[in-house]
Amino acid sequence: MSGWIIFIGLILLMLTGMPISIALGLTVLAFLFFMTDMPVEIVSQRLFTGLDQFAIMAIPFFILAGTFLTHGGVARRMIRFASALVGHFYGGLAMAGVFACALFAAVSGSSPATVVAIGTILIPAMEKQGYPRRFGVGAIGTAGVLGILIPPSIVMVIYSVSTNTSVGKLFIAGIVPGLLLAAILMAITWIVAKRRNYPRMQRADLKEIVASFWDAIWGLLLIVVVIGGIYGGVFTPTEAAAMSAVYAFFIAVFVYRDLKLRDVPRVLLDAANMSAMLLYIITNAILFSFLLTSENIPQAMAQWIIDKHLSAWVFLMGCNVLLLIAGNFMEPSSIVLLLAPILFPVAAKLGVDPIHFGIIMTINMEVGLIHPPVGLNLYVASGVARMGLTETTVAFAPWIVVMVLYLLLVTYVPDIAMWLPNAIYHRPG
């Protein structure tokens, strides 16, 4: 009963268009005030203690690192390296774009940031080479979703915070699906390009490959710092995030010099703006899930689903549908914060691995990012390419189908996600 009141209240408040964080907070406030005899004072305390975890602080650090990287010339050098490797295939520049997105995703934890960094440079360049603009926008905008699948990933950090799973394991589990998706997107690009005879670039000689690799080495080393640092036990994920922020600052300002020292305060402010918004939703969502837990709602829902004798197969299908629908209304972090605490206990009871479930959620979020009305990648791509939203949507349409098929593949073949973490964390003997 109380569950219905909470959810209907929340949905009504959200539909008025007020910020999601405020809707969450007001729901909790109203429920505590009218329906329980818990002291309302608990709200102000929870708003503080909810954030009092070192793991959450990886989010502002990754955002800061990402902001420095978008300004620095890292993206441009990664594109050069990628074109040297795959530019001579059909649709070479487009394939290089997907490849560069994958490389950039390995240093950045956000999808829209990946689209901005790679798309700003590559979409105009593709047009100049004679690609239809739609194709470039669709390919790069979609490849941008790799940003949250290939570690580091802000969405994964949020999932791990709201379900108490290990960030390190999630990151490791994202690697194989991320690379697989990059390979699939590149293959599709190649097939389409071959059929429509899109331009190829001249094959780069070994000298250019080596030279572009050296040029991009500072950015590529960041991958080693983050993944190697976490996996090798050198840093905690939060520390790795802080190190990558300092490192990104250093290469943007002193090595590649794309950013002047006097621009740094503005970068800090941009990153702080973004992080504060996320942290504010996070605190209110933690408040909300505290209310749900104290009303025993996730447990009751889990029991209800167990009593229906649903199989994990059906449950996961239901989750995918629910998450895809939610993707029509909210952006990824809010969805994960709201739904992960509710769905996670059920998944655990049905024997779905928490890490696998995290990867499924992440891919669902990726699909949400590329379709209207709230897909952020869509807006960013349309902004970067100066293309109307309707046309951008058309450009993305075929890629959405690909992403949904890919989602089903990873959902029902758990080994794609679980193979690497299992191999690393449960070594025999």
Partner: protein, 183 residues
């Protein structure tokens, strides 16, 4: 005039908190891994950086509370506006004002509750585990940040009422990064 000072103070504070938190974690990691380098150790052996994590968390909480207020001004707090944007102009305006009003109401309530809680903490004299800072000062972020946020909601609502557009944040525009062609 007062508004301008407040704006600058707000921006300056959150950017500084961000930078400080980053430097502190960097320093603590660097400190951990330079322990066996004699010429560095010679200078750093008397330092004790066990409080770094705690300070980082507190800095970010302060950054988050004041940054949330700054975010109202930059229009970064998004809601589900799919429905409301389809309403006729007059109803849409009413809806937007309602949303802003709800924001102001929630933050005002939190500011009052937070102030009460700080008062309570002041009475207990509790201190933080590592830094031994008085907890009431640390918790002050909640009422102060929330009050500022409430002010920002009212400010945006006032301006919107007088015909100014709502602030909106574009994720696609990165200052200093412009499109360029290649090859």
């Amino acid at each position: 005039m007062l508004n301008r000072i407040l704006d600058h103070l707000e921006e300056w504070l959150i950017a500084t908190f961000m930078a400080l938190a980053t430097l502190i974690i960097f320093a603590s990691v660097a400190y951990r891994y330079t322990g066996d380098v004699p010429w560095i150790w010679q200078y750093t052996q008397y330092l004790n950086l066990t409080w770094a994590q705690e300070l980082c968390i507190y800095l970010f909480i302060w950054m988050a509370k004041f940054g949330a207020a700054y975010g109202v001004r930059t229009g970064i707090h998004v809601g589900v506006d799919v429905l409301i944007n389809r309403l006729p102009e007059k109803q849409r305006r009413a809806g937007v004002l309602l949303g802003l009003g709800a924001g102001a109401f929630f933050t005002a309530v939190v500011a009052v509750l937070g102030a009460k809680f700080v008062w309570l903490m002041y009475g207990t004299g509790q201190v933080s585990p590592d830094l031994e800072l008085p907890m009431w000062i640390v918790y002050l972020a909640v009422p102060l940040g929330s009050a500022l946020m409430c002010y920002r909601f009212l400010q945006v609502a006032w301006r919107f009422w007088h015909g100014e557009p709502l602030p909106s944040h574009s994720h696609a525009r990165v200052e200093g990064l412009q499109a360029e062609g290649r090859g």
